[in-house]
């Protein structure tokens, strides 16, 4: 049974202004559904979930870890391990009988994530598509130290200078990402079949191939792997009992956010205030009551 139907899949650049991006998105949604559907609930996820949630009066405001797990399970119900590597973060989610039982997320360092690969690709003057293709053409990946992005780069230059082929180096980078992931994020976790791989880096065939080789199993990559969070939060919103009044008029309302530094003590909490047509509707970020902004 397919519980959801995707009507519109698109990626909107934030350009530093999530509220504006959401407005554009809403206009597109309005056009797509063309009065055939009614919006009864809204869910948000990701780093701007709280801000956009306030804007759209969302009933579900969920962190991306839970949202991803739920989204993936709706498409691969028997998944046991979800590997996710994005631009700056990477996580592992362990599932047993359709329930998340353990997860881990990278903490201090972004080595072994998408930005690591893209910066190395830039160094080799490849675009990321070529990079993916080239990695698959090598049978003999070069060994590259991947503990730290900076050291990986000097290792890479060294390997190129002593005469390793470019495609071997590229494949070596993919292998380095996989090793880094398994040693840091996946450390101590038992990775069981079926394995689902998602996030931006899952589009890189070289990395997929290395994961399959290293784990000695098929790694499942869904074409909608990059929007699992959105799917997950949509499912959660659907499960909500009460409906909200949703109106597309929101695109005409002016939302403004302002970061204010509280000066009541040396913590200088940064308080985010959200104004709807110049009226304060929500505020957060204060550590204690002294910094609470007055919401009417």
């Amino acid at each position: 049974m397919k519980i959801i139907k995707l009507l519109l899949v698109n990626i909107y650049g934030l350009a530093g202004n999530p509220a504006q991006a959401v407005k554009i998105l809403l206009k597109d949604i309005e056009k797509t559904i063309d009065n055939q559907y009614k919006i009864v609930n809204v869910g948000t996820t990701g780093s701007a979930r709280k801000l956009i949630g306030t804007m759209l009066n969302a009933k579900v405001v969920k962190n991306e870890i839970t949202a991803h797990a739920i989204g993936t399970l709706s498409i691969v119900p028997d998944a046991r391990t979800i590997i996710e590597i994005g631009g700056q973060d990477s996580k592992i989610i362990i599932i047993e009988d359709g329930i998340v039982t353990d997860y881990a997320m990278n903490t201090l360092c972004a080595a072994g994530t998408g930005s690591f690969l893209s910066s190395q690709a830039k160094r080799l003057e490849l675009d990321i598509e070529e990079f993916s293709e080239m990695a698959c053409s090598s049978d003999n990946p070069t060994k590259i130290a991947a503990r730290c992005t900076v050291f990986a780069e000097s290792d890479l230059v060294h390997k190129a200078q002593i005469g390793h082929k470019k495609e071997d180096i590229v494949a070596g980078l993919c292998r380095a990402v996989v090793h880094n992931y398994l040693n840091n994020v996946g450390k101590g976790k038992s990775i069981k079949n079926p394995v689902v791989f998602q996030g931006g880096v899952s589009k890189n065939k070289g990395v997929v191939r290395e994961f399959e080789r290293e784990l000695n199993t098929k790694v499942y990559v869904d074409e909608n792997g990059h929007i699992m969070g959105a799917i997950g939060v949509a499912i959660l919103a659907k499960q909500q009992k009460d409906e909200i009044d949703f109106s597309f008029d929101i695109t005409d309302i002016e939302f403004e956010t302002k970061g204010i530094e509280c000066d009541k003590c040396a913590n200088n909490c940064e308080i985010i205030c959200v104004y709807k047509d110049k009226i304060l509707v929500d505020a957060w970020g204060n550590k204690c009551d002294r910094g609470r902004a007055k919401v009417k």
């Binding site: 780093s47 962190n63 991306e64 997860y103 101590g188 003590c265 913590n267």
Partner: protein
Amino acid sequence: MSKQKTACFPQIANYSIPVDMYVKNVLDMKTITCPMTTKKTLELGSKHSPDYVCTPFKYSLGNYIEAIEIGADTLIIPAIGCRLGYYDEVQKTILEDLGYKINMVNLFEHGNNIMGIYKLCKTYNPKLKIKKFIKTLYLVSKTVIYMDIMEDYIRKNIGFEKEDGKMEKIYQLFLQGIKKSTRVKHVKKLYEKYFAMLKEVEIDKPENPIRVGIVGDLYTILEPFGNCNIEKHLAKKGIEINRPMTLTHMFGELQNEKLLLKQSGKYLKYAIGGNATDSVAKAKMMAENNIDGIIHIKAASCTPEITAMSALQNISNDYKVPILYFTFDTETSETGVLTRIEAFHDMLIMKDLKEVR
């Protein structure tokens, strides 16, 4: 006659209260409460600390500098256990290089047994009578025990309060009250009064709430500023928090390494330093008691706790209890911590629902 010294103990939860009692009575010094730890404290501390030292070093150094600025000339440190045992010397040198003229008193300079502590007190206060010493020790330990019992009750129930903030208010009143106490009788009376009040606070606690255990290095689990108020955030979600590691515990069980190793069972063969042996022992104990999840907290570069993590991972696999690991650095963002806690909570709820079905 020389001027009476002004002592200060860094902020570690509310424990400066019993430490101040001790310093006043047996070391014969005045005490001042160090200014509340804020971001500025941490900035000050990090600026003058080696980069790779553990976070508690930076916090306490910041506390000391701010305390000196409001008039402290003697700094109290309980240097014992892990690397902390050397921190008095290092911090003293750093502070002297900064141009401050201070005394550093390591409470355990002559060892942590009763004779060693007495010897230390005699060096600072030669007139001290053994009777007063024993009496103060009794007063201080009783105060710590009472505080820990109350805090434990609060941790387990504050998430279910009907009216937010009531328990915290009552506990603050208790703390204000004991600050002036000089006798155990008085402290006990206050404890009985306020604990009864705490128990009267209306709570709405389900029969089987979600229970989360906390283990990790002592400083970071004790001091809320050092762990981004993690307990508060957990409680807000309606979670019962179990934390067997307290200061009471530090002076009791924590001294008994053999016992801790026995409690850790097959997960540890020898003690791993600091209070990390205890982290493993307590995690195992909680896992055996069917706790829903465990959160392991450590300060950045805390070596004993890094060692503990491998043992904890085995416990997690064997007992099927999820463990969430946190490292708190000087630049840890509270948002990141919140996201992870949220996901952890969601996971525990889903697991719970499944088991009920």
